[in-house]
């Protein structure tokens, strides 16, 4: 069953068009990775799905409901959660308070403080620390935990590995099976192609705001991906 369905989505920032007529479908329970070079429009795509930017054309449907015109704060109660680029942890709040703010929509589900602490021991250790005093990896883990607190049906992860040490990235991705195991659908955006190929059921590659390649990792060759990624 299709959980998220985009058809012909355009996004503009003023006169600048960031994505062009994107079609995208994610089935419930699936993990999709959107890959592409810097500036390919990956983060914009996630923002459009979460409602942080408006689609200037096309439709976005979530579980059969047209959400194109809904503001971000009304999409969260439906079950869409975004871990934004740059993590955006609330700096003057403690880690635990960050998680509690994430639970604002009170959506019922398996995720609560205890479940997040179990999935991310890194977060549990730092629960009383202020957001401003966290390392990059701790911020990333807390940001994912914060998104999970809304018990999303669709979790959008933006550039999880960006700027983090490989060992930290590994720790964070180790929690992904726990998340998908709860039936959560995941859409991950990555510049790190290898990381995406390992975790995703399917990948979709963007180039300059357009889809240039999609398929299951096992069906795609390295050369196909490289040429789609760089546009050569």
């Amino acid at each position: 069953m299709t959980l998220l369905s985009l058809s012909g989505v355009d996004v503009h920032y003023g006169d600048f068009q960031a994505i062009y007529g994107i079609d995208l479908n994610v089935a419930e329970g699936e993990t999709l990775a959107v890959i592409g070079a810097n500036g390919a429009g990956k983060s914009t795509l996630l923002k459009a799905i979460a409602g942080q930017v408006r689609a200037s054309a096309g439709t976005i449907a979530f579980d059969g409901v047209d959400v194109t015109a809904l503001p971000a704060h009304k999409r969260v109660p439906l079950g869409i959660a975004l871990t934004p680029e740059g993590r955006r942890i609330f700096k003057s709040l403690t880690v635990e308070e960050n998680l509690l703010v994430g639970a604002h929509s009170k959506r019922p589900g398996p995720w609560n403080l205890r479940a997040v602490y179990e999935a991310f021991p890194l977060v549990a250790d730092r629960k009383d620390r202020l957001g401003t005093n966290l390392s990059g990896g701790e911020q990333q883990a807390a940001a994912i935990g914060r998104a999970l607190m809304s018990n999303p049906r669709l979790l959008l992860l933006d550039e999880v590995s960006l700027g983090l040490a490989p060992v930290v990235v590994e720790q964070i991705y180790a929690a992904l099976p726990t998340i998908t195991g709860q039936g959560t659908t995941v859409l991950v955006v990555e510049q790190d192609v290898n990381q995406s190929m390992r975790v995703a059921d399917r990948v979709q590659c963007l180039l300059e705001g357009r889809t240039v390649l999609e398929g299951a990792p096992s069906d795609l060759t390295r050369d196909q991906i490289a040429s789609a990624y760089f546009g050569i």
Binding site: V76, P84, K91, E97, N98, H104, S105, G131, R146
Partner: protein, 289 residues
């Protein structure tokens, strides 16, 4: 003895200034809006109280029970009507909107209530006092006002640190773009912040009217005193605001002791001195709001 008396009166007066300043601090803390209509709104609260007291004959303390929710409602409407839109326009728009509002409110109050001084009568309470020594006695009403200031500041502090809405306000203050991703409508959080801020303005306005005379133009002085309390105390600290209010109150009381016409001037000069030599205030960021 007169000087000690002046200091005590000044400290108590500082409670009123802190009460006035709390709402200004809260709105700045959450939205970075400096509400230039703050003083005019405090005077509006006093006039609403006056209308209720004169219309029903109840005591100002009973009237306060109605004034606070009325002011909170006005705050909610103002945020949706003016400030949320001004925030989206960005730049100087929130300040210009607030300034326009201050002028319009002041003029409307002049038209409705004239520029004659008014006060809220508290009967025997206005002269009741506790005698400490032969020369020093503490007025009961100033003491109640001071206690109200401490309670409001303590209450706001607890609300911000413990309540879910207070948490959302701090989150909005940190990063307003990310808050909607938590399923929270910023504009609603802002409207509730302004409602709470103006609720405290309602309390402040009522005490202001009980402690002395007011007229529509008095809002200008109230805005300035509240601002001085905030800056003397240090931005972003509610307890600092209380301390700042007390410093300002003591400075004004000592100035008046020197010469009755010097009170406000000495208060202003102390403020400028602190701005010159300790611009971060007395208790900078001791507690985040």
């Amino acid at each position: 003895m007169q000087w000690i008396n002046a200091i005590i009166q000044g400290v108590l007066l500082g409670g009123l200034y802190a009460l006035l300043a709390a709402g200004l601090s809260l709105m700045f803390g959450v939205m970075r809006i400096v509400n230039l209509a703050h003083g005019a709104l405090a005077i509006l609260a006093a006039y609403i109280g006056l209308v209720i007291v004169q219309g029903t004959g109840v005591s100002p303390f009973i009237a306060m029970v109605a004034v606070v929710p009325i002011m909170a409602g006005i705050g909610y409407v103002l945020q949706w009507g003016i400030f949320n839109r001004a925030l989206r326009m960005g730049g100087l728009a929130p300040l210009l909107g607030a300034f326009g509002l201050a002028v319009v409110l002041t003029q409307l109050m002049q038209l409705k209530f004239t520029t004659d001084s008014q006060s809220l009568q508290t009967g025997s309470l206005s002269i009741a006092s506790i005698r400490i020594t032969e020369q020093i006695s503490i007025g009961v009403l100033p003491l109640i006002t001071f206690a109200a200031g401490v309670i409001v500041i303590f209450g706001l502090q607890m609300f911000l640190s413990k309540a879910p809405l207070g948490r959302a306000m701090r989150a909005a203050s940190d990063d307003s773009e990310t808050v909607p991703l938590m399923g929270i409508d910023n504009r609603q959080v802002y409207a509730l912040s302004t409602a709470i801020a103006l609720g405290t303005v309602g309390i402040a306005g009522m005490f202001l009217g009980m402690r002395g005379n007011f007229d529509p133009n008095y809002g200008q002085a109230m805005l300035i005193f509240a601002f001085e309390a905030v800056i003397i105390g240090g931005l972003g600290s509610l307890w600092g605001t209380l301390a700042g209010g007390m410093v300002l109150g003591v400075a004004q009381a000592l100035g008046s002791q020197m010469n009755p016409s010097y009170g406000v001037l000495v208060g202003n000069l102390v403020f400028l001195l602190i701005l010159a030599f300790r611009p971060t205030g007395l208790l900078p960021k001791a507690v985040t709001t």
